[in-house]
Amino acid sequence: MPKDWDVSMKFYADLHLCPSLERTDEARELIRKSAELGYDAVGVAFPLRVEQSRIQAVREMCRTCGLDLVTRVDLTPNNPVNLLKSLRNLRRQFEVIAVLCLSKAVARQAAKDRRVDVISFPSTDSRKRFFDSAEAALASEAMVSFGVDMSPLLQLQGFQRSRLLSFLRKETLIARKSQVPIVLSSGAISANLLRKPEDYAFLSYLFGLDFGGAMRGFCENPRTIVERNRKKLSPNYVAPGVYIVRRGEDCHDG
């Protein structure tokens, strides 16, 4: 493997698995395969209204495979007002909130909102890819990451794939210039679209991301998001930088 990547930093997370939760066997297979390929954590995309029992069932599947489950929700709002409404309702329910931006107004709102973790754009519709330098500047300020799903690169062929690669090449360059973290994920709906993080790092060569950058997209950047959000979702979190360190009557003695 190329030497610009420190293996000791290893904590691989695929923050975007899209199993059909109705088909338990498929979901189990996807999770089992992720564990086999060397991931430490997986982000499973849940529907907006999901029962806790379903999340618990997926958590149990992950636990038996030795994986850490990261709960994720994918928002596709059609206007900024809907986005804000969804964020108010869902921010404290999920560990990762991703927004698939279908309009420029939504993209701008998502990029400047600190409650959003990942923004992404449709793979097959080039008119709806709004990640330019203005978007990147907003995202950088609000610590919003630019999400890239790798499975469309395996599924698409010919003109569609070359157009997607062309956009990804431009967008990753903009993201790196503006210091927007890039989060790579599989976006897989089935096990045959899953690859190892190192495999994806080779694939990301197609859009100009070096090996180290790609591995950070599977390791450091997702971990930062998950750790930050878990701290925020913890009952001890009060405000940015303020945490409860002790509870009880004797806390004034500490």
Partner: protein, 113 residues
Amino acid sequence: MRRRYIAVKIESDHPVEERDFYDAVWTSILKLFGEYGASQAELGLIDYSGETNQAILRCSHKALDLVGASIVAVTGIRNEKAVAHILLTSGTLKSLRRKLRSQKTADRGASAL
């Protein structure tokens, strides 16, 4: 010429012949990089084991990323779903085989635990 050796693991529900795997990698290179890119790859199949579904490929060291991306992009072999994972890369065949052996030993140790 400096070369790189790549160990690949093939996953498929059907038995995969050596020729079919090699064709799939070539097809993937041609699809992604065209004939000009393929001409720079200097690709060769060094070893193939149908039993373990592992192969060793050789390429020009300048084309490692190109060949690596093409191997990962393989989604089917002879119209059947298949996946190719890169296990290791190395500068010499000897060190690649040594690393593969030590990896196998480590895997056995882990599964014994």
